[in-house]
Symmetry: C2
Subunit: 126 residues, 2 copies
């Protein structure tokens, strides 16, 4: 596991960012750019108040992961294959189906803004 | 990984709940009570607004995991060894040091309230 996060606004989810061994090792050692073969995954769920937890705590404070939401996303490092998008290939699946090409046009323009960290937004949670 | 969550109030953290293979398998198959040898871990971090993400999104919406917070906790299933606390042993570490026995008195009274799910609050995030 690389980190966890919460997005408000339209996304309105709670999420986990996972990596394969290559990605996690690079994160832990602070290696940039990420090595070939690094894979980063983002899964997300609806952000649900937990009434059963709140009842136990005696106050409203607990939010948990509900149903899967906002698809599953991957970044795959292959500098040759994905040279045009910073060396990363992007993937997005909704219920196991890949998103259409129009949707996929939106990945790189945003990730491009974080080129200084090899196009990866997520920082490692120690 | 079993799930992620956010606690407001005094805890004020974002957290991940992890399990060993025995625990994760039991979660996925809905097995209750958890089998002997199941281990569940809870790690947590400060819940920090991400200015760099917000800047990219063009609005305040992103919260990420900051520094580790509220210690690391474990539940270990051993029905014989921990018969007095529902078959689970509880552990809490702050900066690698086990919490004192006074602190540990607080675990079971709260988990006892969720006896119907074998004393485990966290539900599996699919």
């Amino acid at each position: 596991m690389i980190s966890v996060a919460r997005e408000e606004g339209k996304l309105d989810d709670i999420r986990a960012i996972l990596g394969n061994d290559i990605a996690v090792k690079a994160y832990r050692e602070g290696t940039l750019p990420f090595p070939e073969g690094a894979i980063i995954a983002r899964i997300a769920w609806s952000y649900d108040a937990s009434e059963e937890n709140n009842k136990t705590f005696g106050q409203a404070q607990s939010f948990v992961a509900g149903a899967p939401k906002n698809g599953v996303q991957f970044m795959v490092k292959d500098s040759k294959k994905y040279a045009e998008t910073g060396g990363w290939g992007y993937a997005h699946f909704n219920d196991g189906k890949p998103a259409d090409s129009a949707f996929m046009q939106s990945c790189y323009p945003c990730h491009q803004k974080i080129e200084s960290r090899d196009f990866v937004f997520t920082r490692y949670a120690p």
